[in-house]
Structures are given as C-alpha cells and as structure tokens.
Symmetry: D2
Subunit: 334 residues, 4 copies
C-alpha cells in the first residue's frame, strides 16, 4: 500500500487550529501487554492507559472485533462469543488540556495488519445483520445458519476471498471516539462521540474531529477492518488485528455535536441514528451548519447547494444506530 499523499495536511483544520499545529510530537506505543485489559464501553470510568500532549503519535496494537477468538471456519460464534464483551478497544488516552467544548483532531497515519494467517474473519450470526431479523427488528422468521469465513489479509496483495476474487486492502478504523460525559456506552454503538461508526472514510489519510465531552477527551479506538462495503451488510466486515498509528491534536473551543472528518478532497459530517433517514438528516444538518458557520454560506444557500453536490456514504446499517457521512468537495466550497 503506497503512503497516502500528505501534502494537503499543512492546510488542514488540524494544522491551522490545533495546539500542536498538526505537527507530530512524542511517539508512543500501546502494545497488547501495555494495554492489558481492553475496554467494552466508551466512558469516563476507566483509567487512562496513556496521558499525552497534543501532537502525540500513538501506535496501538488493536484486536479484531472478536478479540481473536474465531480461528476456524468450523467455529460457532454463538458458542464462542460472550455478549457484551465484544469489540475490544484500546485506550482511553487522556489528552492534556482537553475540556468539554473542545475538539480532538485525530489524523490516521497508518494501519498495518498483524498476527498469523488467516488473520481476517467475517461471519453470519443469528439475529445480527442488515438483511435478517434482529433484536430490534424482532420477527418470528427462522434464523439463517451460522457461517464463518477466514481469509488471508495482506497489506500489499489484498484480501483473498476465493480463488477467483481478491479484494483490495482498504483498511480503516471501525470504532473510534471520545468518552461521553457521564455515560459509559457499549463499544458496539456509534453515537455523537464517535464509537462503532464502521465508516470506511475513517482510514489512513483522513483527520477525524471528535467532540470532547469529558476531561482529557479520553480517546478509544479499535475494530479495524481490512475491507468493507457500504452498510457492512451482514454485520461483520473483514475483521483483523492491526498496528494502527494515529496523531492526536487538540483544537480548543471548537464545539460541535457530531464527528467531522476531513481528507484531501472533502469535508464530511457523520450522523448516527435510527431510522436511517434520521442519520442522514443529522449528517446533512451538521454540514449545512458547518458551511454556514465557517464557509460563508447562509443556511438555505448551503441547503440548496448540497442538494446538487452533496455525497452520502453509508457506513453501517447493522449497529444499534446506523451511521452515514455527508460530504462536499472542498473545491465546491467557493
């Protein structure tokens, strides 16, 4: 995988407004050993695994969403997995100076697969997924049979689906976010603080902006995917363990409600809700307001322009809330 072009970063919001000016600072590693206990909730009740200054560059050994427990295609997920102890997270990382009303900027530098092959896992489980009856869409139909697929994942040669089909390695962070102020919410859920968004745009070369709700921000991350289609249809992407490297900056006083993202081409807002139209409404309203607050549009003009050029990316349609991103090309911001 070629390194993404990073020249645009010098003009990013992180570089222009971050305390560290988007410059890399001290480097840290979170190994499996130094992480110790992984976390299954996003909340303020855990002890930070690291305390860092803005600019810190952190490489974390992430587990896959199943903590590596599914090792064979004959495994039965329903027998092996123990809800709610799913989707283990690294962190929390306490960022010095971060207070409610600030913003953590997290630049995703690199995602590298790790662990023995076949290191990729996807599966179909009962009452989970976008095209089956679930705990929420609670129906009487019989479930589909369980099925596990183990896949070789390589950063260069991609994900081998079968002898005829190979998928490109297009990794991203499935779950990343800050802590709520007083809640501790399952790492299976996406929400206003980030969490299990499963949005492929949250990959190398992007900066995600997360609202700070609790002191230090308390950044969590994990659940990296080697590939994923729009919606994460059966509920399980190509899950795999990685070394994921991010650079964290702090923007004081940049207050907004929902995660924002920037890459070389676009600015994006991210909404999570049910039904799905509410997630799109959140994302687009946040984008309208962002364009009005910082790019010189009035709200109705922004609304009318997005009608012609806005793009929507479906992240997940399987988690407790659905996640979508709404974006506009930077060149169309005038």
């Amino acid at each position: 995988m070629p390194s993404p072009d990073t020249s645009w970063l010098a003009e990013s919001i992180m570089a222009r407004r971050g305390l560290a000016k988007g410059q890399p600072g001290q480097a840290y590693a979170i190994t499996e050993a130094s992480q110790g206990k992984y976390h299954y909730v996003y909340g303020p009740y855990a002890t930070p695994v690291l305390t860092v200054d803005p600019g810190a560059v952190i490489s974390a050994e992430t587990h896959d969403a199943f903590e590596g427990k599914i090792t064979s295609e004959s495994d039965k997920p329903t027998e092996i997995l123990n809800f709610p102890f799913l989707n283990p997270q690294n962190g929390p990382i306490y960022v010095n100076g971060a207070e409610k009303g600030d913003c953590l900027a997290v630049y995703i530098k690199e995602i590298v697969p790790r662990g023995p092959q076949p290191r990729g896992t996807t599966c179909v489980m009962p009452e989970f997924g976008g095209l089956v009856a679930t705990g929420d869409t609670a129906l009487l139909n019989p479930a589909l049979p369980e099925r596990v697929k183990k896949l070789e994942v390589d950063a260069v040669t991609g994900v081998k689906w079968n002898d005829k089909i190979t998928l490109p390695y297009e990794p991203f962070i499935g779950t990343i976010g800050t802590s709520p102020e007083i809640e501790a919410i399952s790492s299976l859920q996406p929400d206003y603080y980030g969490g299990n968004m499963d949005l492929p745009d949250v990959g190398p070369g992007a900066v995600i902006y997360l609202p700070v709700n609790a002191p230090g921000g308390l950044l969590y991350l994990g659940d990296c995917h080697a590939a994923q289609g729009d919606g994460e249809l059966c509920g399980v992407a190509i899950e795999h363990p990685t070394v994921t490297t991010v650079q964290v900056d702090l923007i004081k006083g940049w207050k907004f409600k929902w995660p924002r993202l920037e890459n070389e081409r676009v600015i994006m807002t991210i909404g999570s809700s049910r039904p799905m139209e509410d997630a799109v409404r959140i994302a687009y309203r946040e984008l309208v307001r962002w364009m009005a607050a910082e790019y010189g549009f009035d709200e109705i003009e922004a609304y009318m322009l997005l009608t012609q050029v806005g793009k929507v990316r479906l992240g997940n349609m399987v988690d407790p809330k659905y996640t979508l991103g709404a974006s506009i090309r930077k060149t169309l911001l005038g």
Copy 2:
C-alpha cells in the same frame, strides 16, 4: 384516589414465583437527605443507597424530571436546565441474591404527590418533543417558542389545567429499571432494562418485571408523572415530586430480554426502539414468546390470536427510543 384492588396479587407471578412469595417484608424510606446525590445514569458504577432482601417495601422521595428547578411560568428551561444532568433518579437499590439471569419484580403500591403548589410542571423546549424537529430528526425549521405551564396537582381533585379543564390524577413512574451489566446509560433513555419508558401502565396496582443484568439488580426509579397521554407528545408530562412506594421481590432464573408487566387484567411486554414499528415488533415478539413458553400456545397460534385481540399502548414518542407496550387480557389466555 381509592386504593387499587389488590386481591388479584395473590395470583400474580410475583406471588407464585418470588422468593418472598409476594409478601411485604421490611420497610425502608429513601428521603432526599438519605438519597443525597441523585443519579443521571443507569449503571453499575454507583454505590447502592440501600441493600435489601426480597420483599422489601421502599418509599422514595422522588424529584420531578427537572429536579424542581422550574418554578415559574416565566422560567426559560434552556437557561435553567443543564444537560445531561436531567431526570434525577433514586437508587440504586441492591437486592440480595439477584444475579444476571434473574428477574426483579416490582409492585407499585402507591404514588403520592409532595412539595409546594403549583407542584406540577410541563413545558415546550426547543428541539425536544414529538411534533418538532429534534436532535435526531434534525431539520432546518425554526423552533417553537419555549413555554412553561405550572399546575396544581392534587391526588384527590386532580390536575387543574385551566378554569374549564381538570385532568384526573393518574400517576405512574416515568423511569424505572435495573442496571445494565457494564454500560451506564442516561436516565433519559428507555431500553431493555427499563429506564425512561414513560409508559402510563407502570402505575399503582401493576407489577413490573425487570431483567437482572448486574449483581443485586440495582434498581433505580424516579420521574413520576401526575398525568400523561399516549406518546408524551411535547416530551414533558405533568412532572411532579412524589413519595413513591414499591415492593420488590426476586424471581430466580426467570430470564427474558425486555421488561414485562402484569396487572389485574392483562399481561404486557414492553419494547423500546426506533423506528416505532421496531418497538412494537419487540413488544409483540416478546409477548408471542411468553405465550408460547408459559401459556401453552405454539408461536404461530399466539401470533394469530394476538392479531385479533392484542392491545398496544404508546408510552413515549419523544425519548431516545420510543416505548410501547403490547398486552393481552388474561381471560383470553385460555
């Protein structure tokens, strides 16, 4: 308000399966002083205010949802209220012997209004309510103006709306539930453990059955309403402080996913989700399964019978999840 007829209680599930056989045990009071700090999340991270045996009868001084801060019709809720510190809860109450997979049975004996008049409050707030744009149904329309209405609430004479209209005093507990296993979730939210269901059936004379997810069950309650229509349309019922008395029993090994309720006439299951049809699906699927597991129906027969006689009650259409109850008359269970 006449006391509800309680003779049916001797035949209730609580009486038949509870460790205390539905008999009242030791009495406790939770005053404002003994409660001290009220809680804004349902979770396992708080210290119990009481530890009791099954059978305990507990009278709690509940605050209204605004902790009494709205005292005048000229108050501005947006200036006075401090999200997420809303909907204060009494508890948690640790019930000896309660383990994951058990059920807490909570019989609601009495709700008595307390505090100086006008002790009732309802209001319209921006971005909150069933007929306005909200944080989830995120739109660009201007908000409605804020409006507060203070009302005299009396257990005998009712709720005085204006000179021409008086509402009967029909109190219930807006928010009641057990703790999640590892999550700590806002008391504004209803979910599988109960919480902010805002379902009028949860009133004097009913027994609510709550799944135990954490040791001791950890019962919370608060947010009593003097009256409420189906859906709690503007988001704020007749909120009022009370002394609420419940009797708690423990049913070992009665495991189910969502709250259940029983009164003299019906058995009911309660679902909370979005969109609203998913909440109804949850409630009805739970009722089908209950009828199949304990009342001698096969699932399809139960499904077909509920088609003819099932009743649905809309609790709230304003909270983070909508809540509905599905019920069947006991006399139709054969």
Copy 3:
C-alpha cells in the same frame, strides 16, 4: 349485539353541518349482483354503482378480503390468491354535489355477518405480516409456514377461536374511503383519502369524515372485520362477508387533509405513513390543527394538552402504510 346509543348523533358535526343535517334519506341496497364487478383500486376511473343525494342510507353486501376464496384450513393462500386482485371493494358511490374541498360524512349504522359458516377467515402468509420479513422489510430469513384458520362468526355469540377461547363480535369496516383526484391506488393501501386503514374505531356508532378529492367523492368500502387487535399483527383479521349499512352526508367546504372520526366520546384524526412515528405525527398534528381551528386552542396549548390526555390507537402495522388514530375526549375540549 345491542344497537349503539345514537342520541349523541343529533349533536354530531354531521348533524350540525351536513346538507342533510344528519337525517337519513333514501335507502339503497348494493347486492353482489348489483355491484357486479368489485374494485381493487381507489380511483376516479370506475363507473359509479350508485348516485345518491346526501342523507342516503346504503346497505352493501361486502365480500371478505379474499373474495370468499379461502374456504378450508387446508387451502394454500399463495396458490389461491392472485395479487393485486385482493380486498374487493363495493362502490364507487357518487354523492351529488360533492366537490374537491368538501367532506363526506359517513355514519356507520350497522354491520351484520352473512354467508355460510365457518364464515370467518384468518391466515399467515409468506412475506406478509407485522412480525415477519416482507416485501418492504426485505430480509433473507426463511418464511413461516402458511396457516389458515376458519372460524364461526356470529353477531350474538361472537367468534369461536377454539373450545376455550371466544372473542366478542366487534365488527368494523377495514377499508373505506373516497377517490384520489387522479390516482388509482390499490385497495390494500391506506392513505389521506382513507382506504385500507384497518382501524377498529371505524365501526358501528362512529361517523368518519373523508376529504373529497374528485367529483362526487366516489365512496368505496369493503373488507369488514369481525374482530381485530391493535396492529392487525399477522396481517389478516377475522375477515368475513357482511351486509354493511352506512348513511352518507355532505359537508360543503370543510377541507382537511386526512380522515377524521367522531363517536359519542371522542374526536379522532387518522394518519397513515411509514415509519410508524410519521403516522402518529400526522394524526396528532391534524388533531392539534383541528383543536386550534374549531375548539379555541392555540396550537402550542393544544400540543401541551394532548401531551397529557391524547390517546393513540394503532390500526395496522402490516399494510403499505401503517395507520394510527389520535383522539381526545370531547369532555376535555373545554
């Protein structure tokens, strides 16, 4: 079945504002023979079976929703039924003087079962129903098996479910409405003109008010149910053929968007949409506007009062749009 008390009718909106002042006029019968071809769409392209003046009292021989084709519990609906030729309707009835912007008032006088026993039918069909995957909630789960239940229906002794369970005979009109202006829409669908609402309140003793969209109004009706629970859960109530008698009046210039209903106790508005919360929003907004236009409330006051006393009835959660009614007791209108 005792006749409903009709003394309140003299004070009904139909009596106060109808051209016939709510008085019965000429009587008509629509037999199977005089109806000839039944209809499967609500639209302006069919020839009226009757042309009447306001006040007309019409007794129609309705078919059941399956046109009587399911006669045995061993029948397979998927083999017998021929979509879209389902839910046959009597009509259309042309009401002299009715123009777009007017209102047809339809007082439901009586529903009497007819035809050989067992004349009642319910069934479970693949991809149809409230607790199964459907054509809209399109999933990969296997379907439930088909099942047909035939039942004896008697106006006095009720509906015999089995040896232990008998349901009261509580009939209503499942499908009734006027024609859209230029559309012709399946009789399986409920919408702003009425149609397949499957709302139990539309029974003897009620007056339903329907907006006129096309010249003559073009009233259709059919699909009477002997009993039905909230939501019509499996999609098929106790379907049965009847003689249904209605009295039609015309209110000039009473213009509104969605069906309204009145009985001795309440006024009700009816909304149909998806997701379900949108149907409730429609119903409640219409009720707010009605209270503001005709009962002396300002909109926010009506909104706040309905929060405390509004009632919601779930009609169907199985048709192309879900239907709910929102109501308030007349005694609470001040």
Copy 4:
C-alpha cells in the same frame, strides 16, 4: 459532454437477451406537440403516444418538473404550482410484445438541454424537502421561506451556481418507469416499477431494466436533472427541459420485482421505500438474489461478499418513498 464509451454495450444483458439484441431500430421523436397532454400518473388508463417494436430509438422533448412555470427568482412556487399536476411525463410508449413478467431494457443514449436560459431551476418550498418538516414528517415548526434559484445550464460549460462555483453538467432521468398493472400512481412517487427515483445513476451510458406489469409495458419518462447530489436534499435538483434519447429493448420472461441497472462498471438494484433502511434492504436483497440466480453464488455467500464490497447510492430522501441503489463491480462477480 463527451459521448460515453459504448463498447461494453455489446456484452450487456440487453444485447445478450433482448429481442433486438441491443441493436438500434427505428427512430422516433416525441415533440411537445406530438406528446400533447403530458401525464401526472403512471398507469394503464392513458392512451399510448407511441407504439414501437423492440429496438426503437426515441427522442423525447421533456419538460422540467414544474412544466416550465417557474421562470423568475421572484416567483412563488406555492402560488404557481398546482398539486397534483406536477412532474409531467412523456409517454406512455407501448412496446409490442411486452407482457406481464417480461422486462423492458432502456438504454439511455443522450440527454441534451433545451429551452431559453436560464433554463435550470431549483427552489425551496414549504413542507417539502429532506431537512424540513413535511406532510409525512408532520411537525409544528414554522416553515422555511420559499426561495427560487434560476441557473444557466449548458452541456459543455456546466451549471453556473454563482460567480465562484460552477457544477459539472451530469444529467440523468429523474423519473422513468413502466405502468403498474391496475394502479395509476402519481409521477411524484418512485416504486417497484420505477417512477420518480431521482437516482443519478440513471443517466447516459446506463441501461435500466424495468419489470413489465401491464401489456406493452407502457414506458413513461421525464423530469431530467442537470445535476443532483445524493438525496436530492431540498427536494428540487437542477430541473431543466431536455431532449432525451433512449433505446428500448424487450427481454422476454426476465421476471423480477424492482428496477435493475447496468453500466460499464457495475450491476445495480434499486429499492424505494420508507423508512430508508427498508429501501436499502430491498436493493440489497434483490442484488443477493440476482447474484444467486445468475452469477453462481449461494445467497449467504453473496450476502457476505456484498458486506465487503457492496456500494450504496442514495437517490432521493424527499419523495413519497426514498430510493437507493445497491451495486457491485462486475469484476468482483468472479
């Protein structure tokens, strides 16, 4: 605008299975004059404007969605437009030999803007759009003010938004479909037969496959857009009159429920429903079934592969049903 590369067409499904083998046949023009009365419903009750054999190439003078009535930025849409007489359609075109259970293949050759400048129109109207309260999402908030924007549209230089922003001319057909069997449904609605899908993929270079429900198929089309973002957010894209040229073929016995599409890169299925997740479910289930029926996958394997590589395109989030397309790259079909 360069002509799209059409070499792949020789391998298209239209070429392989169409009666005309994808070869262009006789050419026809539908002018404003020859069309005469445009249509506002998709149904079988109108007289065909053309009867053609498979292979016919038809150039139609389409109106914009407002039939050209909005000519100035000071116009008030609410005063000018006359619901339901909106979204005028050319057609219907009767294709000889087309019967229920067949498929019309429609290759979109070209869309050329016509009419005097500024020929493009977008606007904000009350109770219509994706970020405002509407007739379905019926709320009490005040409406946004009406606003009209007229724009110069040129096939080469694009759409001039303002002095700083120019949008590329990326035209497509907003509304296209066949007739339902017995219904006549507003041209504002998308559904299983096509209609007002507002999906940008339905542009030059694509073949859309439409199910035939009525004799002759009865093709309608209109409502071309010069540009549109995902979701058509405010409800009105860059509406403009065009000459649109399509080539129609007939595939006998290719029976499916929802529209399908093919272009050089992908195969796509299109679903329309509410809530939005149901539209995605429809599209993805149809794609799973297509892959299982014609590309050698079992259903669960297709489901798991789409989880990793499926793409979703949001067409509209403003029409009576929301429309989304689900697609997979042809190179990933193995």
